[in-house]
Assembly symmetry: C2
Homo-oligomer: 227 residues x 2
């Protein structure tokens, strides 16, 4: 069985990506990165999703990117916006996907994995620079020269299968593949139990996605927000 | 004063790089990464070097890459070779420089730094894939699309000024710039006091460098090894 590393945040997109990688016959090694995000309930969700979707194993790397500041996701003094904004929102975490892909690249090399999956999406998204196709292409070119395996001519494919899908398409795909979205947490400011605020970017894209897909929104919201 | 992030391992090359960045007028923010290396005395050295060379500040990010295994530098069960080997030696840490550059990229963005310095060298080196010019070029292209600042047209230059220098040239340069090499630790298996084994790749390149430069080797060696 061919091995793959799958970046798993515990959100809707990465859960769907894991299900897709599995359906393509990969033995999936799931990796979560605890980078100091305030929405740590994501990590509990990631554990549950890894189990539900049959990952071979699930690892967590903890690192303190929060010390650098500069993001609402790692600095509790910066508020998470609850309406759409112009440009890249303050929930952007500088170089987050570069760091997560770098860690996954290292693990993939040790595992001799042939593919590295990441659930980035550039349709219904917050406009983050490191979710775009040109970013993934550049990381592929980096991976092609960065490792010993690359020197030996063995390529690690960087797979971003959700890149051009709408949120509704992602939800339909995941539903077909058996993802239990009730386990996933997308909210940027979920509470400790993983309940969503219903108002941040991530919540709005997700709610609209269920609506557009014509599927019930199984998200657990905080008190006072109805599905 | 223009800001730069400088990756600082505590070894000879990164100390020289920091001194060079300072001499070029940068306010230097030094970053060390504790990735689970067995030679943790490097981090004490990094602290001392950052102070000696006038870094504005020195940060350490700790992360457990050792859990992935696959390297003699993070797995005490794999012996550090004490003679030259064919190909990439087992001291190679999968994706290490990719991870360290990624973390530095994130911090550089928050600091609005214009340059990121790394002391990689592809002359007197262990043949690691992520020390080569093509790796640095690929990372530059990644940085050019990865961040919000890049989207706004503000470029972060990835500087690897030692890339094509011999170890002797590096030592002469650093000596001119006032680096106190007695503070630095290069050895892959230094003891807790930072004393060097004198036999690993890193030690051999370093000893030969001082010899070729015609300068006294100020390295502190373990008992039984003479300078």
């Amino acid at each position: 069985m061919k091995r793959a590393v799958v970046l798993l945040s515990g959100g809707l997109d990465s859960a769907t990506t894991l299900a897709l990688a599995r359906s393509q016959g990969h033995a999936c090694h799931a990796l979560s990165v605890h980078y100091g995000q305030r929405h740590a309930a994501e990590l509990d969700a990631a554990r549950a999703v890894a189990t539900q979707l049959g990952a071979v194993e699930h690892r967590v790397v903890t690192l303190d990117m929060g010390q650098f500041g500069g993001s609402a996701l790692t600095d509790p003094r910066i508020a998470v916006p609850e309406a759409a904004v112009e440009g890249v929102p303050v929930t952007y975490v500088p170089a987050r996907n570069t760091v997560m892909l770098a860690l996954a690249l290292g693990w993939a090399e040790v595992l001799e994995a042939g593919a590295l999956f990441i659930g980035v999406n550039a349709v219904d998204y917050s406009g983050y620079p490191d979710c775009r196709p040109e970013f993934i292409s550049a990381f592929q070119r980096l991976a092609d020269v960065a490792t010993r395996r690359a020197l030996e001519g063995r390529r690690l494919r960087i797979e971003a299968p959700l890149m051009h899908m709408s949120k509704a398409q992602i939800i339909r795909l995941g539903t077909e593949l058996g993802v239990d979205y009730a386990l996933t947490v997308s909210c940027y400011q979920a509470d400790a139990q993983g309940r969503a605020c219903g108002r941040c970017d991530a919540c709005r894209f997700r709610r609209q996605g269920f609506l557009d897909a014509g599927l019930p929104d199984v998200t657990r919201y905080m008190v006072g927000i109805s599905n």
